[in-house]
Assembly symmetry: C2
């Protein structure tokens, strides 16, 4: 079988690439191959499904299978690609009907990430779950329905771990978060970490820091988790979420270059080291806009950008990825925490001379109640005076996730602290101030140069 | 009396300039003169006070009098400046204690705007109100309390008129909006105008278009309003809001240049035609960023920028106003309407070759209910491919006013439609999509080039 474009992986990169191709060139009918039966599902939505805010797992589909077909792509599901043979421009795919060789003109690797498995014994127990793909979510949901666990441990206090803690609490479980480091969400600044921990505890979640989980064992009444600092915790189920690493096993036996972390090396056109093979998303490295280094960001937004750029380049519309600045938002209970750009440590490591400030400001005029107290941290580089990072924490109702995007736009456009005050941002008393809080923060920072 | 800095007007420009001066040079103690007793009040908040969402008029103070004094400015209230004598660098001020001459090194004109008075007979009736300053608001509030009017007419369907219609409805009155043009809020695109009119009508507000009010007369039971199209309307009170013109009477007898609209002419440093005299806000003209023409924007955000730049320049920190792009948001009931940059007509008039698109998109992933349908219009210039305008309409909960700011930042940074897709905007399913709706709109526009 021969195809113009073969795409391995039907998640963000794969589907974005296929949609872009169809947008630009209707003569190409990309073949998208997935090892599961859930093409184009929003895996970022899994915690909300577990928490019950999303009623059915099928709701998590960005598009339904028939929409994808109608959009002009061909789907080959529940099919595992075992090998890429670049010299012959073919792949070898296996499913329950057998093995087939598929030849390609262009190949897209969107194989995603795999779970980092910490050195904990007992991860294979049926009460222990990783939470990455739809299969994981559906299994865990079924487990909860059938076994009605009362107590859960979440191992890992990063983005997904905290979303899962929130979800399980909403689902009615008692939840303990276990974190190896000295705080949850270490990507944000210390003040925010403390506020988040306080929030989790106020919501009834136990947070245990500085503690390494070493062992999970089955006991009569559930699981016993033990580890450093005399950790001894009895729970009914555990979710492990300690990070993502690239799924790049297809590099084996090829000249496909991978970096020291195992991610496919790519250039700005998202081309791998082998002609006509592209890669993007969680299986590939990501150019960092500010440092011009390659980093590893496992983010849906980045994967969508990669996919679109791959689609453009395959269709001959030259397109370059300018880089990510790591913009992320997370909703926990009624709070939102957003970040973009570098934190101080990252900035120093990248050779910047960071200067920063933190302010507390109402999201809008306090005379129009309720106004929400909002914490804003901004970081600039002393020499260039450019804004290089920002973090905001506050109410779900305080438009925080789109306020961080004002910073994201400023960073991308290399705006200085002075120029930021020139931005003509919108104001009406129920929604902002004549100087938006983001500008107040930068004006405060300007004084500290 | 001699002062380093004399500021006429204690609203946005005056206080912003004074605060900036104090920030940069504590040796200067600016004298701020106001013809009223409400320094630094948020007149943008007046409709929310009338509507009852702001409980006391005093809440509308951005800062209290003592805060202003503590910040290091001197206040001279209820004092009218009658004349500026630039040759002698002095002003003549009158209050109930008499007349005084005050000499200045630097003078700031922040005299604001005055109401445009349409050619309607009866505007002087005590049941007819303009709504600009705190005195107006307090008088109207007292009038409502004392007379308990049942029916109100709002003459003028612009921003303030519609906010007042919303407010009076919340206050329990029956409301009719009377508009001379063929739609309300003519600064936004036709589809939005229609949606806004429908919204007002759904909320029980009568909207009468294409109708010129000519006469308001007192009748036994209230007011009779008549005009073109056989308009005959009985109400108990009327609010007139047909626009703002600059309050520049201090130009009389001086060489202070004013433009054809009566606004003080200024350069990018906010200097008038006379040395050491600055002007900003509603009494001055405003540089338009996109067209590089001077326009008239009566906006608090612009006035704050002007004031800050004036303060910087007075203190010797050279500062230039890059221009406004007319970003505005309005909340009407549970809807927000935002705009930034040019609409198509303005773009054509300014010599651009506009191309536009409109999309409807959920503000965030629909699987996390409730998602809100959001209308987005984007306008770009065909030659430069730069985004030059955007408008968004939708729910109060859809972060619309900060989404328009992403466009505002893009326009200020002269981003092309292609570059806009590179923006690393934040995503979490309860608050956005992997491509934020603003990016979806621009990607749609890109296809239409």
């Amino acid at each position: 079988m021969k195809k113009d474009v073969v795409i391995i992986g039907a998640s963000d990169v794969g589907i974005s690439a296929a949609l872009r191709i169809r947008e630009l060139d209707q003569s190409i009918k990309p073949l998208v191959i997935a090892d599961n039966k859930f093409p184009n599902f929003s895996i970022c939505g899994i915690p909300f499904f577990i928490g019950g805010e999303v009623k059915k797992s099928s709701n998590l589909a960005h598009r339904k299978e028939k929409d994808l077909k109608n959009a002009g792509m061909e789907l080959l599901l529940e099919t595992k690609v075992e090998k890429v043979v670049p010299d012959e421009k073919k792949i070898i795919a296996v499913n329950n009907k057998g093995t087939q060789e598929i030849y390609y003109d262009n190949l897209v690797l969107g194989t995603g990430g795999v779970n980092i498995e910490p050195a904990i014994s007992g991860l294979e127990l049926p009460e222990v779950f990783f939470m990455r793909w739809m299969d994981d979510a559906i299994s865990f949901d079924n487990f909860i329905k059938e076994n009605q666990p009362q107590k859960a441990a979440v191992i890992g206090g990063g983005y997904v771990g905290l979303e899962m803690a929130d979800a399980l609490k909403k689902r009615g479980l008692e939840v303990t978060v276990l974190e190896f480091m000295d705080s949850v969400l270490t990507t944000v600044n210390p003040r925010f970490r403390k506020l988040i921990k306080d929030k989790l505890e106020n919501e009834g979640i136990e947070v245990i820091l500085n503690t390494e989980v070493k062992n999970i064992e089955k006991i009569e009444s559930g699981l016993k988790i033990s580890g450093s600092n005399d950790l001894k915790l009895k729970v009914d189920t555990a979710v492990v979420s300690v990070g993502t690493k690239p799924n790049s096993f297809l590099a084996e036996g090829t000249e496909l270059a991978i970096n020291e972390r195992g991610a496919f090396k790519v250039n700005k056109k998202m081309q791998t080291s082998i002609k006509d093979i592209y890669a993007g998303g969680d299986c590939a490295e990501t150019l960092d806009f500010l440092t011009e280094n390659y980093r590893y960001y496992a983010l849906g937004t980045v994967a969508h950008k990669h996919g679109r750029i791959i689609g453009s380049n395959i269709c001959g519309k030259e397109s370059y990825f300018d880089g990510s600045i790591g913009t992320q938002s997370i909703k926990l209970f009624d709070q939102v925490i957003s970040r973009t750009g570098l934190n101080e440590k990252e900035a120093e490591e990248a050779g910047f001379d960071p200067i920063s400030t933190e302010i507390t400001a109402d999201d809008h005029k306090a005379y129009y109640p309720p106004a929400y107290k909002t914490y804003i941290k901004v970081i600039a580089d002393k020499d260039s005076r450019q804004i290089i990072g920002a973090q905001i924490l506050g109410s779900y109702h305080a438009e925080i996730s789109k306020r961080i995007d004002i910073f994201a736009a400023a960073i991308y456009n290399q705006m200085t602290v002075e120029k930021f005050s020139q931005l003509d941002l919108s104001y009406t008393p129920p929604l902002s101030s004549p100087w938006d809080p983001v500008q107040k923060a930068v004006q405060q920072l300007e004084l500290e140069f």
